[in-house]
């Protein structure tokens, strides 16, 4: 029997620098209408937003915590400080960002990335955006990329028309919570025909112990527009359980194309209960690239609603569950128009007692004749302490369709290792190559600018002691 491959955890110290807390304002623990009113007053929000928040709070109080999937009984909602505002006003110039916040961002390589090729940076520190910039040529073309707080005031009509229309407070307990306490996040608007050829990147982190993060991302692509949005998360580690319940709403109009990339690397005490949805009109395209590496518990199922004829969705995801992690992720696709197509490609790795769970949904309604879909899930188990589960649900309601699904679970193939060794490659290197090859589909989808994060998350982890 051959030795098992050792894949070590990456050195997380880079991502886990903590700054001494320094806040201007911190809301009282627990959730009451008064807290919500305070949040809204602080933000100088229009009246309708406050009403929306209060309504969502009521729904939140009525909804039960979901009982399927992850065990989230450790989460004490009454003790989560829902709103923490960092000690910095919105900055348009990097030099004016306070030193200690800058230090953390510097460690993560944000300014360099911006200089290189990023069109804009919206970095969220705790609950509010502290840094924002967008290249001038984009502004001239009418592209809007700003923090959600300001968008509510400056683009009130657009926001009012789209905000929490795709994900409503009624969907589940955490979307209701999000509706009540949302704070920060990004707003992107790309006018018809405009191609934002450089990725828009937002980077958010959490820093206060016990604080929740409820950022809202709203992206609207008008007809024929094209954009790439990158979301990345990395949070310092604390002993208090942390909650992330963000919402991402993507509106992709006729012929528009959006790529939404996420590298999620929350610290390992985080409950990541994020909701993401895309609504795709005629000939529109949504591409999800998703890497789930961090957090203690994740429940994340990005949904693509293919509403217009010939709309297309692609999902490429890698989940890496290591010690103490339960990562429950998967793609949901709803085909609701003729000739829509979707491809889901998911890879998961479980090691050191980690639990990776793929939970997906594919629904083809009676409107979707001519729909084509394929779902492929592969799981790699690196030891027998870990668990790996796959549950791809399919619901088909018409006949003229072509649906295929495949799933596999197993460990590194001994034949493949043997073959590589017969070619003169050492056993260790052969195994490392196979593991790298396994995550290749997502690695190749990520933009180069993300090399800093990617290198830390995938290559270092895999090469670590194997190579």
């Amino acid at each position: 029997m051959s030795e098992k491959t050792e894949v070590n955890d990456i050195d997380r110290s880079l991502h886990e620098e903590k700054n001494v807390e320094k806040h201007r304002y911190k809301s009282a623990k627990g959730l009451t209408p008064e807290v919500i009113k305070e949040i809204s007053r602080e933000k100088n929000e229009p009246e309708w937003m406050l009403e929306f928040r209060l309504k969502a709070l009521e729904i939140y109080k009525e909804k039960e915590v979901p009982t399927w999937g992850a065990d989230i009984s450790d989460l004490d909602m009454d003790n989560i400080i829902t709103y923490v505002r960092p000690d910095a006003d919105l900055q348009s110039d990097w030099d004016q960002v306070p030193e200690e916040i800058k230090d953390t961002f510097d460690a993560l390589g944000i300014p360099e990335a911006e200089k290189e090729s990023l069109a804009g940076v919206g970095a969220q520190y705790d609950s509010e955006v502290v840094y924002h910039n967008l290249k001038e040529e984009m502004v001239e073309q009418g592209v809007v990329y700003m923090d959600m707080e300001n968008a509510v005031k400056q683009h009130e009509d657009l926001v009012k028309q789209h905000f929490m229309k795709l994900i409503t407070p009624n969907d589940h307990k955490f979307s209701a919570l999000h509706g009540a306490v949302w704070s920060g996040g990004s707003f992107v608007y790309v006018p018809a025909g405009v191609d934002v050829n450089i990725p828009l990147q937002s980077y958010f982190r959490q820093n206060a112990p016990g604080s929740g993060q409820f950022e809202h991302t709203l992206i609207i692509l008008e007809e024929g527009a094209n954009a790439h949005f990158i979301e990345g998360c990395s949070a310092p580690k604390y002993s208090v359980n942390n909650l992330h319940a963000g919402a991402v709403e993507l509106f992709i109009n006729k012929g528009a194309k959006l790529r939404y990339s996420t590298i999620e690397n929350w610290s390992r005490n985080m409950y990541n209960l994020n909701t993401k949805r895309a609504l795709v009109e005629e000939d529109g395209v949504i591409e999800w690239v998703s890497g789930s590496f961090g957090s203690k518990v994740s429940m994340l199922y990005p949904m693509s609603i293919l509403k217009g004829a010939r709309a297309r969705a692609e999902f490429t995801g890698v989940t890496f569950a290591a010690e103490g992690q339960y990562l429950d992720t998967g793609a949901q696709v709803i085909h609701d128009a003729p000739d829509t197509t979707s491809t889901v490609n998911s890879r998961s790795i479980a090691k050191d007692g980690g639990h990776a769970y793929y939970r997906g949904l594919l629904k083809v309604t009676k409107n979707a004749h001519g729909a084509k879909a394929s779902v492929s899930c592969e799981s790699l188990m690196l030891d027998n302490e870990s668990k790996s589960d796959t549950l791809p649900i399919m619901k088909l309601q018409t006949d003229d369709i072509d649906i295929g699904h495949e799933a596999k679970v197993g460990r590194i193939s001994e034949e493949a290792v043997f073959y590589l060794m017969s070619r003169g490659i050492s056993e260790e290197e052969a195994k490392a190559m196979i593991v790298r090859g396994f995550v290749e589909p997502i690695a190749s989808e990520l933009p180069l600018e993300y090399a800093v994060e990617l290198n830390n998350l995938i290559n270092l982890e895999l090469e670590g002691t194997i190579g």
């Binding site: 589960d389 619901k395 018409t398």
Partner: protein
């Protein structure tokens, strides 16, 4: 209706231990809330009024002298043996995935069964001819609750065919069955079940098995009838080299609704399993396919595969697939695949270019998909009549 009095009636003249087992199940039944089958919209289902099943259902044959066959409802003298076998199923439930039929239905079958057989093939006995059991429901016998126990002792070999059918198209019949199966070391057991109830009838059927060292169990469930049909088939591969396979065919047309569950629990090393399901949905038919492969810790070098193919013949069908792959062991190979869609246009076109009508071509394609599984039916008469049934229904 399903009360203490009925249990007292049913236990009159029945052997002591099995009677007390009925009573225990009744206590359990009473305390349970009844679950719904939401995916096929079977909500607040009411059990129909009890009635006995008085017809003979076992075809006696020569050459089966070595076989032990007893009716569970009789006053048996080997009941301790039966209870010892049944006790092996205690605590065998696994947490993950599909949990089978609602416990209320299982308790109901164990408390109120009106038929059922204990079949045992002793050690080292190989039987060439299959055991035939046939239930024909009608006006006088509209309720069938069968509780079966089939045991294949070490090194034995047996095939059992159970045929559930109806002639009368107007009777609203009800079937709730429970079949438990034990396959001992090196034994091979094949079980063929054919369900052809009419469009007014409801079918509930639970099948639970335990397979030991190098034992092999092959299921051939063929689901063609019923208004609502909810079945489950759960197999635990307990030891080294235990094997199980399921070759399922279903044909759902009209307003038929089916919820079919299949599960393989791998516990033994080198255990292997295969689930193959081929189905056709037509008209407004609705089906749910649940297939679980569960590799429990310790099942190293196990392998399992699951394959579902479904042909969708009309716009108004509704097809749910819930395949699951659970793994707690790294050294395993598990895979599942689903394909769903219409009959391949090109093949259809080819057949039509050869002079076939579209209906004929479709029929041929469906037959081509089903026949490899129908070929596993060991009785020619039954096979012929099943093939005929499918033929007529595709055309209609």
């Amino acid at each position: 209706m399903y009360n203490k009095k009925l249990v007292d009636n049913l236990t009159t003249g029945q052997s002591k231990l099995l009677s007390s087992r009925r009573r225990e199940s009744f206590d359990f039944f009473q305390d349970l809330a009844q679950g719904d089958y939401e995916r096929i919209n079977l909500i607040n289902y009411q059990f129909p009024e009890y009635s006995p099943y008085n017809k003979e259902y076992l075809k006696e044959k020569k050459g089966q002298a070595e076989l032990l066959i007893k009716k569970m409802t009789d006053n048996l003298n080997n009941e301790e043996e039966i209870l010892n076998y049944l006790d092996q199923f205690k605590d065998k439930k696994v947490e993950k995935g599909n949990q089978g039929l609602d416990p209320k239905y299982l308790a109901m079958a164990e408390a109120f069964y009106n038929t059922g057989l204990f079949i045992k093939v002793p050690k080292n006995v190989e039987l060439k001819l299959p055991v035939e059991i046939f239930y024909q429901l009608d006006q006088e016998n509209p309720v069938l609750i069968d509780n079966n126990l089939i045991v294949a002792e070490e090194n034995s070999r047996l095939t059992v065919v159970i045929d559930y059918r109806m002639q009368d198209q107007n009777v609203e019949a009800f079937h709730n069955g429970l079949t438990r199966v034990i396959v001992k070391d090196n034994a091979v057991l094949n079980i063929v079940k054919v369900q052809r109830f009419n469009d007014q009838s409801d079918n509930f059927d639970s099948n639970i098995s335990l397979v030991s060292n190098q034992g092999e169990l092959n299921w051939i469930p063929i689901e063609l009838g019923g208004k609502n049909s909810v079945t489950n088939n759960e197999n635990t591969l307990m030891d080294d080299g235990s094997r199980a396979s399921i070759s399922s065919v279903y044909f759902a047309d009209g307003d038929r609704k089916m919820d079919l569950g299949f599960k393989m629990n791998h516990q033994g090393r080198h255990s292997s399993s295969e689930i193959e399901s081929k189905g056709v949905l037509k008209d407004r038919a609705q089906k749910v396919f649940r297939g679980d492969l569960y590799f429990q810790k310790g099942a190293s070098q196990a392998n399992g595969s699951e394959k579902e193919e479904v042909l969708l013949l009309d716009k108004t069908v509704d097809s749910d697939s819930i395949p699951a792959l659970f793994s707690e062991e790294d050294n395993v190979e598990g895979e599942h695949a689903v394909s769903a869609g219409q009959i391949d246009e090109q093949r259809l076109f080819y057949l039509m270019s050869r002079g076939m009508t579209k209906a004929e071509a479709k029929q041929l394609m469906v037959e081509a998909a089903f026949n490899p599984i129908f070929d596993k039916i060991p009785l020619n008469d039954l096979k012929g009549s099943v093939i005929n049934d499918v033929k007529t229904r595709i055309r209609s």
